[in-house]
């Protein structure tokens, strides 16, 4: 109350017209400075050094034109990185979104058990990827791990999980889906709850049955959220680093090396900053292109209420 009374003193503070015009800029100054310094500037700088031979050991970088990019595209290692990243992202995006939608439709109906299940599924999302990576590394251990012991009990031959070039990417995708699906489900549950009850009642009166209701009503009405999640999950997949660094270090034989791991390795282990930055620019271009494609191809099909 004292505060409010103090605030009522007439003519106090910075209410003047002249200062008011500048006030929003002053208020935004720290935020804009932060974004300029840690978003815009690094992105421009990234592009610039990608055209140089800058390294940690060489203090005087010189311009090398497009040679970093030429080297990237000619390198079998980088092509493998692109392949790994795309496979991992495709598995992650398709797997996590379809599972999230399935779980959301199932668990959004009221019920104590369903509420508890939602919380349980969501829990891995708020736990550090360090812990998630380490416990799954132990569960997926080909010799002593619990997963292979369970498979054995079901009469299924053991799976090599992270130790084989063919199974490592699907295994990584599985772990990431486990971590993220709860968050995606939660967003879809919220979207489902926003659908007015009358819409379903009208459909019922018109005699619509299960699958028709899902494809004609539910799916179109959550499509804005799905498009948003498509963008979010694709970005999430393409920026993956933690589980790779902790679980596989890109192995076996580079079969799980992805973009950010590649950039990290070349910048901090081999000190080739320019070359690593060119990889970063390729990743930025890829993410931007995918987001643009999503909005152009699907944006029109999305149904906004």
């Amino acid at each position: 109350m004292r505060d409010a009374a103090g605030a009522r003193r007439p003519g106090s503070g910075s209410g003047g017209v002249r200062r008011g015009a500048l006030a929003p800029y002053a208020m935004l100054l720290p935020a804009v400075a932060g974004l300029a310094l840690f978003v815009v500037y690094p992105l421009c700088y990234l592009v610039r050094i990608s055209f140089t031979d800058k390294s940690m050991l060489n203090p005087r970088p010189k311009a090398v034109g497009l040679s970093n990019y030429a080297e990237l595209l000619g390198s079998a290692e980088f092509l493998a990185v692109i392949r790994n990243s795309l496979l991992y992202s495709a598995l992650f995006v398709v797997g996590s979104l379809s599972l999230a939608l399935l779980l959301a439709v199932w668990l959004s109906k009221p019920g104590k058990g369903r509420d508890f299940a939602q919380s349980a599924i969501f829990m891995p999302y708020i736990v550090s990827f360090v812990t998630v990576s380490l416990v799954w590394l132990w569960l997926m251990d080909p010799q002593a791990g619990l997963l292979n012991s369970l498979l054995g009990k079901l009469g299924i031959p053991p799976c090599p999980w992270l130790s084989d070039t063919k199974t490592v990417i699907p295994s990584m995708a599985l772990v990431s889906i486990w971590k993220y699906v709860g968050y995606y489900m939660l967003l879809l549950v919220a979207a489902l709850k926003n659908i007015p009850r009358e819409v379903y009642e009208a459909a019922k009166i018109d005699g619509a049955k299960g699958p028709a209701v899902f494809f004609r009503i539910t799916l179109p009405l959550v499509s804005p959220s799905l498009l948003f999640l498509l963008v979010v999950s694709t970005t999430e997949a393409l920026r993956t680093f933690d589980p790779i660094n902790i679980m596989t270090q890109g192995g076996p034989i580079n079969s799980s090396s992805v973009f950010v791991y590649f950039i990290y390795e070349y910048a901090f282990k081999f000190f080739r900053i320019g070359y690593a930055s060119a990889g970063g620019v390729v990743l930025f271009a890829l993410i931007s292109a995918l987001v643009a494609v999503y909005f152009n191809m699907l944006g029109k099909k999305v149904h906004y209420q």
Partner: protein, 276 residues
């Protein structure tokens, strides 16, 4: 017959619900169970679900095998500084976006959204070089400053400010309240729950963060707990999984506790951030 069938369907649904819950809870139980086993027990195949005798020795081993107090202290300092700097930056920014009309507003807001979309895994190399030139590598500043202008926070708080009824704010102006007073004594108290949400998300994000401190620091002096825990795993030798899992329990306990206390608020904050 029909009743029997519906009973079977209900049983199947209940079983699948339990199975789904188990898939997501079991790894947490596995961390706990292994953190209580002896080293020999972790090597038994097939693995035992429960330890023969629960022992807390692994926790003591985890504490003594890394400078735990130092890591914990660093984690707390970084989280507190991130939170403080975020509030100083995002509150006035969100207020400006919500309450003023000015030239360049659209452009500046696009900048905020761009910051929201651009992952820091793209810009870490240039930021590393920047901090190197400023002699700020291996400092708390390198772990705090890049996160002060939180796009997520500005976005969420602006949304919330815009939802405050215009009459309340106008009544304040008619009474001669200045913008600054309006922000401090009307808007901030009314946006308490949004600020709490932002604080929760910020804590979860930075308590868990592994990538950023890994890149910006290389000394125990400023490194945070997730790096300490990850370093307990030896890649070339035998990992003592029981000790490692005990360390992980210490890492996730604060998060799990927060979740139990505020799970509704955490979920709501994350859902609001995802929906326009």
């Amino acid at each position: 017959m029909k009743r029997l069938l519906s009973l079977a369907v209900r049983a199947a649904k209940a079983v699948s619900l339990v199975a789904v819950i188990a898939i997501f809870i079991f790894p947490f139980f596995w961390i706990l169970s292994n953190s209580l086993k002896t080293y020999e027990e972790t090597l038994v195949f097939p693995p035992r679900i429960l330890p023969a005798k629960a022992m807390l020795g692994n926790y003591l081993a985890a504490l003594s095998r890394m400078p735990f107090a130092r890591y914990l202290f660093n984690s707390l300092v970084v989280n507190a500084l991130v939170l403080a700097s975020q509030f100083l930056v995002i509150v006035p920014a969100a207020y400006a976006f919500a309450m003023y009309r000015f030239k360049g507003k659209g452009l500046l807001f696009t900048l905020v959204l761009f910051g929201f979309m651009l992952p820091q895994q793209l810009t870490f190399v240039p930021i590393y070089l920047l901090f190197g030139r400023l002699r700020l590598l291996n400092s708390y500043a390198s772990l705090v400053l890049p996160f002060a202008a939180s796009s997520f926070g500005i976005f969420l708080l602006r949304q919330y400010f815009m939802g405050i009824p215009a009459e309340i704010i106008e009544a304040g102006y008619l009474d001669g309240v200045s913008h600054r007073q309006s922000m401090m004594y009307i808007m901030i108290p009314m946006a308490k729950s949004a600020l709490a949400s932002i604080a929760l998300i910020s804590f979860i994000t930075h308590w868990n963060d592994y990538f950023w401190p890994l890149v910006m620091t290389n000394t125990v002096k400023v490194r945070t707990l997730p790096l300490g825990v990850a370093a307990l795993r030896v890649t070339d030798g035998t990992t003592e999984w029981n000790v490692l899992m005990a360390a992980n329990m210490l890492l996730i306990l604060p998060i799990i506790a927060t979740f139990f206390v505020a799970h509704r608020q955490i979920k709501e904050a994350l859902v609001h951030s995802g929906i326009k």
